[in-house]
Amino acid sequence: MSRIPARFAALTSQGRKGLVTFITAGDPDMATFQKILMGLPTAGADIIEIGMPFSDPMADGPSIQLSSQRALKHNIALPNIFEGISAFRKVDTSTPIVLMGYYNPIYRYGAAKFSKDAAAAGADGVIIVDLPPEEADELLPHLNDNGLNFIFLTAPTSSDQRLPKIISKASGFIYHVAVMGVTGTKSADANLVHADVARLRRHTSLPIAVGFGIKTAAQVKAIAAHADAAVVGSAIVDVIAEGAKKYPGQADTIAAEVHRFVKDLAVGVR
């Protein structure tokens, strides 16, 4: 069963908000990715999003596009990602893992097999960027059968009429996209987020995480003030890119740089 509700309940009892960190599976290579993943909870990640690399990440800005390309150079595919999660689960049984990506690799793998294998590996939920509620029904029952949460995106453009349609299929938490744009470009505006989250709360009691355009501890703090968690992706991926350039092949050093950065971000929710 999903670890996500338990984690949000724990955060509430600790009286603080959550930090969600995004890294792309296999970036810059599988060994370094694994090192980074293993250390994220200690560094301060409350929930971990793992990007499933795709050749055409249409909702992503340059940072995450490049991270996908670095991973795909090593032909990272779903079985590699499941292995990585299984290894993580041997040492961490409580930090939720959410798989994030685009639908085509899952469709090719098979929605049923994907759900079964992801759950068996120890994943807790999925976010599929290009699967709006209108197209979600071919995956949803398989996720439900395997106890995985289906985390939907909401956007500033999602109207009050539209939100119930999204929320009726959502579980785990709602991922609110803070900016109109792709990942890692514009900066999230805390005032707009405040208004959007207030609007979302009228429709759902699910926890709300906010992402896109959050890069610093100060932004994490400002956004998390209005939500249940803040998501940082591109900024972390940039640290990985820089580390891979500066310290090629040195998984420990790159991972240490990433963990230091996450530790700084985590100050925003502590």
């Binding site: 050749s55 909702a59 795909l72 085509n104 469709y107 090719r108 709006p132 956007a155 453009t157 109207s159």
Partner: protein, 406 residues
Amino acid sequence: MALVQTPNTFRAGADENGHFGIFGGRYVAETLMPLILEVEKAYNAAKADPAFQAELTSFNTHYAGRPSPLYFAERLTAHFGGAKIYFKRDELNHTGSHKINNCLGQILLARRMGKPRIIAETGAGQHGVAIATVCARFGLQCVVYMGAKDIERQKPNVFRMKLLGAEVRAVEKGHGTLKDAMNEALRDWVANVENTYYAIGTAAGPHPYPTMVRDFQSVIGNEVRTQLHEAEGRLPDSVVACIGGGSNAIGLFHPFLDDASVRIIGVEAAGKGLATGEHSASITGGEPGVLHGNRTYLLQDANGQIKDAHSISAGLDYPGIGPEHAWLHDMKRVEYVSATDTEALAAFQLCSKLEGILPALEPAHALAYVTKIAPQLPKDHLMVMNMCGRGDKDVFTIADALGAQM
């Protein structure tokens, strides 16, 4: 294997959720969903509005130059000694291809929606030129995304777009072709939803685009029906068109889908040959998948990563195909075949010399298939091929391929 269930009509799609069988749909990020639902609503209203249709017809007539002629290719017919070959001369339209049909429709719609900024993707530059043209005509800001590789091989069209006042943004990502240009256009749209209309150039993308673009392009097939009736007093026996995304083809095919006697053939680009893996034949060499907002046949690897297409023709250089074609293939209503770079080049030269028409490299693929089948068909077989673009833009590519000095 189960028999394909033949529907009562092949012309009813897409359904209300934008599906053609399992194909089509709206696979887009949530940020875009309200936008495409708005486009759909606006399009449905426009479609039902006689004033919109009258305005479109007027611009088609006086600005684009419609109807385009249906021309009996007498010397090619004699050369093959078989089927009687007609060209639908959509290369004679303003801007030199069928793309203007769609651009006029979509820009009139964007005006109704009050969007002052237009974005588009382009491969060969034909859609880019057509959209830049119509934007100039209506005083709209126009940004065209084009792969860096395509900019290199389609320089005349790039300069044309600039002369027309459009901003051409080079896309270096991926392999710098149409697929990458479409990714960038979608990213632009997500970031500028308030003031921007995305004019997709082919009958693909999220619903309602495949249906809407088909409707605007169906003027081609509707005219052929009337014109061939005037010339020959009957329906064609076959219609042939090239397919990248498939907008010229669906425009020609759609009005004939329910005429069982009409054989319908779509010609994909086989590039260097299907066996080499370097081609753009999504139906012949691809598998169903989800990209750019729709489910369709895609060139992809076993892990679902999209492969790069290859074709000498920039306009066919796309790893997918419009979802209605994917469905028509599965329904076995349309035959999808392919022609290689080399075959298209040979057809280009033949047509230039025998008919005095330089076809674009895209319809040269359709003609390449015509050269294969026409000689075997009886003399009373009426075949209509869509000459959907003119070849002036391709002369540099062709000179290069033939090893000729200009």
